[in-house]
């Protein structure tokens, strides 16, 4: 890392710390309301206690579990359906308008009907999350399978490849970047919907935690909970990115 870059990183860190210290001072001198804006030290302490006492693990696990089930379900279904629909001009003609209709639909709108049909349990939660998360993967996959370079199709025909081999060796790798783009959005959606469902249906998890903290005016815990959610989003995204970079390593070659 060059000296310039290092200095910039340092400056960025200094800036962030300065802001936090400013907040700390304002809160401690009561210039701002400590109910709404508790000093960062209290929030950090609350965060520390959440982890030290182990109270964070159960809600975190609950949220992650919900999110994971929903996301995996949605990803598999979205990928398979996307592959089928994307590679068939016929299916696309009949189904694309319907898909386009569902794209702008607020996925959380499915919660009230879901509660009516499935009640307030884990099944409802995972179903809602899966329903919301399937669209980005589905649409991404359709897009990826739709836009396979026709030249590659000709190469496949020249080599007299079977349809299955074509899908496995050419269509899927070709569509993978688009599929991953969809997976990434789906992951974010899964987290969001997991939190929404927890808040709505009072299910144990990180979302319920912060709602509870708000109701009891325990704002340091509220902020701590927000940080945990932010970190969860960040870390899950990072893991996905690492996997993506491994699978799509060939894209580096095109960077020049």
């Amino acid at each position: 890392m060059t000296l310039y870059r290092f200095a910039m990183r340092l400056a960025a860190l200094a800036f962030a710390l300065t802001l936090l210290m400013l907040w700390q001072l304002l809160a401690q001198s009561n210039a701002i309301s400590t109910v709404f804006f508790p000093p960062p030290s209290r929030s950090l302490q609350a965060l520390y206690e959440l982890f030290a006492s182990g109270r964070i693990w159960q809600p975190l696990a609950a949220t992650l579990e919900r999110m994971a089930f929903g996301w995996v379900l949605a990803s598999v279904a979205g990928l398979v359906l996307g592959a089928l629909i994307g590679s068939s001009r016929l299916l696309r003609a009949y189904l694309e308008p319907t898909l386009e209709f569902f794209r702008p639909l607020p996925a959380s709108a499915i919660i009230p009907p879901a509660i009516l049909i499935l009640g307030l349990g884990q099944t409802m939660a995972v179903s809602v999350i899966a329903f919301a998360a399937i669209w980005p993967v589905l649409l991404g996959s359709v897009h990826g399978f739709k836009l396979i370079d026709p030249r590659l199709t000709e190469v496949a025909r020249s080599l007299e490849m079977t349809r299955f081999d074509f899908l496995k060796k050419i269509a899927l790798p070709s569509a993978l970047p688009d599929i991953f783009a969809g997976l990434r959005i789906s992951l974010a959606v899964s987290l969001i919907l997991a939190v929404v469902v927890e808040m709505q249906a009072s299910q144990p998890g990180l979302g319920q935690n912060i709602l509870l903290a708000q109701r009891t005016y325990r704002s340091p815990e509220l902020y701590a909970g927000i940080v945990v959610l932010g970190l969860t989003g960040y870390l899950t995204n990072s893991v996905l990115t690492i996997i993506e970079n491994r699978l799509l390593a060939w894209r580096q070659a095109y960077r020049h």
Binding site: D149, R151, L152, E154, V155, R157, S158, L159, E160, M161, T162, D165, K169, I170, P173, S174, L176, L248, W250, R251, Q252, A253, Y254, H256
Partner: protein, 274 residues
């Protein structure tokens, strides 16, 4: 083997052919092949025979249907009328036995596979175990002086190298017929020359039959045993020139030979007239 042609231009050169035996059978036979597309006549009654082991070049201005002709030979497109016989049987669909090298090499290689795996693609589904596929692929790459890039991704290679990888993949199919669609059109002059020599060498070594399309007159004469000049709109056979230049050919000396210049002169006039 004598080519029958539409139109009245005669083949003025002797009907004997230098490199290939006269009794070699025709591997390709086009009889009155016509193609119309969307109301336009693209190819008009093409008559052509290609002998086994022959290096046939086709030149023509843009719009003369030469790419379409190649796609007909590959089997990607069917003629509107007339017949194309390959080894005596009509062509109905693409086949591994007729490999086609496209001009846009970057789109013809799989960017997510390394170079050796791209070549190995042609060997998959043929019953070779994985280890053997890799070995054969490496061997072919070595033959083409590409062994050092075998583990690279196509995206990291220069244009000329990518095109050679595509050629390697086509050769891995062990085809009877190699079709080349302006393969060097997107490359710079120096790379083009070195690839011309390489293709010439490979064709001779492997006794391949090649149909080579180009708009570059001199390239066609330099490479070919025969050069077919195509007229445009609609595409039809204009002139067929038997190239009697000695092999192996040389970029410097062959291109200076009086015979070369004669062919060039004649074909140039033909193309001008179109």
């Amino acid at each position: 083997m004598i080519a029958r042609e539409a139109g009245s231009a005669p083949t003025s050169e002797a009907n004997t052919r230098a490199p290939v035996s006269q009794s070699a059978p025709n591997i390709l036979s086009l009889d009155s092949v016509t193609l119309s597309y969307g109301g336009n006549l693209v190819l008009d009654r093409i008559n052509l025979d290609v002998a086994k082991g022959e290096f046939l070049c086709a030149v023509g201005p843009s719009g003369c249907g030469k790419t379409t002709l190649l796609r007909l030979l590959a089997g990607h497109v069917a003629p509107s009328s007339g017949t194309i016989l390959f080894k005596g049987a009509p062509i109905t669909k693409p086949s591994r036995d007729r490999a086609i090298v496209f001009q846009d090499y970057s789109r013809s290689l799989l960017p997510w596979r390394k170079v050796w795996a791209n070549v190995a693609l042609a060997l998959e589904g043929q019953g070779f175990p994985k280890k053997e596929r890799r070995e054969r692929s490496q061997a072919l790459l070595a033959q083409m002086n590409l062994a050092h890039v075998a583990d690279h991704y196509p995206g990291a290679l220069s244009g000329g190298m990518q095109q050679r990888v595509q050629i390697a993949r086509c050769l891995a199919q062990e085809p009877s017929l190699l079709l080349m669609d302006e393969p060097f059109g997107a490359l710079d002059a120096i790379t083009r020359q070195s690839l011309q020599d390489e293709v010439s060498r490979l064709a001779a070594e492997k006794h391949l039959t090649v149909v080579f399309i180009t708009h570059d007159l001199e390239e066609a004469i330099y490479l070919g045993d025969r050069v077919v000049s195509l007229a445009a709109r609609p595409g039809r056979v204009g002139d067929i020139v038997q190239v009697m230049l000695a092999r192996p050919r040389n970029q410097l000396t062959t291109r200076e030979e009086p015979l070369f210049l004669q062919y060039r002169h004649r074909l140039f006039k033909q193309l001008e007239g179109h």
